[in-house]
Symmetry: none
Subunit: 214 residues, 4 copies
DNA sequence: TATGAATGAGAATTCATTCAT
DNA sequence: GATGAATGAATTCTCATTCAT
């Protein structure tokens, strides 16, 4: 997570970075300002020059993440892949999307963890998440859906929101399994595993008998 | 979450129930033993007769949930619907499954929240979750897959694990949206929304053009 | 420390014995009634049937020790050796005394530890100790002194109290060294070490030059 | 006990001084950090800035006493009197020694009490006491013994360790009696009492008859 | 009598926050 | 601005004592 661009004072940036680390490792209440100060290489008092309270520091992180970074960093990849791609085959588009998301999640995992935890407990965080990330994602998926339907690559009768949810859900579970439970399974070929996911997203799981009922 | 069956002392049960509530509302570090005691209607010291430390109380909750309730409560519904159902049509089976899961999640949402939060931060919790819930779920999905493949209702070339992941991912996102973001959207008919999800799970999102490439 | 003789209820005796153990190991404040109860094999509440408070239990121990056992057990050996001995040689008398005291101290070390610790902090304990142990010891030493002076075996010009103090002081340091610091020194022959102590008690440390000055 | 010299922060010194007082009065477990803080005139939390735990505070006291003060303060007097004294008469040397020790013990009695109590219960304290105090005392006594033997003022056939033990034992009992039990006896002239002790240390208690047997 | 669950006052310890330097 | 020592309210945990059974 690169905070260098923003117009932040050197110390403020270091504090934010350290706070992201520590909050992510220990959770908000589990983290101490003392440890954050140490990791940031500043005095404990300095934290409170930039952030009135510890809660404020958390808010600062989430604001930085959602408002400033939300669109450009988090959504840029999705936009490029889904909308600007020259790629004609949907299979390849989805593959690119998944790989891109996995890379992103790995690079900002500490922040994701903070957002998930906080979003589970606070509605205002959920709201901010919705406005800054979800709404934009939905918009992108809608356009993508539209374009693809025109090209006949996506069924016209699926709702774009339902489609987006499904794609995200598939990716999410795939990522969770690989990050947290990979070692529990015989080491499967990532490529083939990915192909399965895409195959299911595209064609579903139904067999011939089910298709006839349709 | 019904803890009455287990052979717990009256007070122990009340403490566990109160702890689930408070941990779920405030997170582990944010919760205080003082508040738990008050909600349980016992003296603070009483908590420590049953649970040596606050951490132990959390462990107690997770153990209760994962070990004792994991299989019977959490998996029973899945097993019944997927394996014992007389239902011939897969669409109906999935519908029953989703409705059942939504009901369960609503009834144990506090616990789910605790488990998710803790699992994000502690590997041992993830391990326990894997052994007590995931592994069993995977097993059930495998049997279901086998049976359905025989009947031609599920494609023989999808991996059972990938299939399970996909189903769970679709349901998860559906549930998350309805629980946390429902109000953001024009009030959609739940029935129709559900049908969309199932439709996608079964037949995927690909349009005619994509299918030809296959 | 044998408490069986006293007219104590079975449980009361077991509680006292356990309390001596635990107080001796952990000190008064460091000991818990819970542990005492466990070691005594009784319920925690039972302790408070016999002793109104924890302090009372300590008092009980000290009373048992000082009042009831003080004279008979602790002083009996001294009396026998010093007064009733047929032994003519003082060297042998002292040797018997020291060996007897070492044996006693080893057998009641837990209690000695409690008494020393408590006596350091509470005057009432010191008073009780004085009346029950010291006063009697002084009396015995006085009689011993008198008898020995008559026989010419002790200098007539030493004060009996000073003599007693000196003997006890010599023995005490000897015992302390052997119990707590023995391993720090090359393993010396106990017999010879003892002879040195007795030699010094009897003839002092002064050399010829010093004796002339006298 | 003067802690001003050591390079301690003002507050740290006050805490240590207060802790010595309170531990000495109530024992380790009986003392509370609350009271120590009050007496030191600092907030309770401040104690834990300097000492991680209450146990650590005790350790701090013992370290201060044994390591830093052990040799210089405790042993300096002994060294001067025993080794550097111009005094030719042993009687006067011993008298000076005893008076010096009594003064020391009175001035550091709180600390002595803590050390004795803790040494009775913990081997590591005994070890530290041995290394920092006892070992040095023994060394000094050995040199003293050597010098005095050469001058004919101490018998060549007494072991220096036994000699030291005896002197210390005599002084200890004398000091204990005067501090704790003085009022129990008719008010004796301290000077004469002291002379008795010295007389016994030097010439022992044996009468003519016993000396012949020798 | 004996029990041991329950109590709650009190203890040690933590930590966000302040403020003099 | 920056520091970090000091604070003290809040928190976890302990344990002597009570009391219904």
């Amino acid at each position: 997570m690169d905070l260098t661009k923003l117009g932040l004072a050197e110390k403020e940036r270091k504090i934010l970075e350290a706070a992201i680390d520590v909050f992510s490792e220990k959770g908000f209440s589990g983290a101490t300002t003392n440890e954050i100060a140490k990791r940031a290489g500043v005095a404990e008092g300095t934290i409170f020059r930039y952030f009135k309270t510890k809660k404020d520091l958390l808010r600062g992180i989430l604001i930085q993440m959602l408002n400033l970074l939300g669109e450009p960093v988090i959504m840029e990849g999705v936009r490029k892949i889904l909308l600007q791609s020259e790629e004609k085959e949907m299979r390849r588009i989805l593959k690119a999307l998944i790989l891109d998301r996995m890379e992103l999640i790995n690079s900002v995992f500490p922040m994701v963890r903070i957002v998930i935890t906080e979003a589970l407990y606070h509605e205002d965080i959920r709201d901010a998440f919705f406005q800054n990330v979800l709404a934009k994602g939905i918009e992108i998926f809608s356009i993508f859906h539209q374009q693809m339907v025109v090209r006949g690559m996506i069924r016209p009768d699926v709702d774009p929101l339902a489609m987006g949810r499904s794609i995200v859900g598939n990716i999410a579970l795939f990522v969770i399994f690989r990050r947290f439970f990979a070692e529990k399974f015989s080491p499967t070929d990532m490529e083939r595993d990915l192909d399965q996911v895409i195959d299911i997203i595209m064609f579903g799981i139904a067999g011939e008998a089910s298709r006839e009922q349709k």
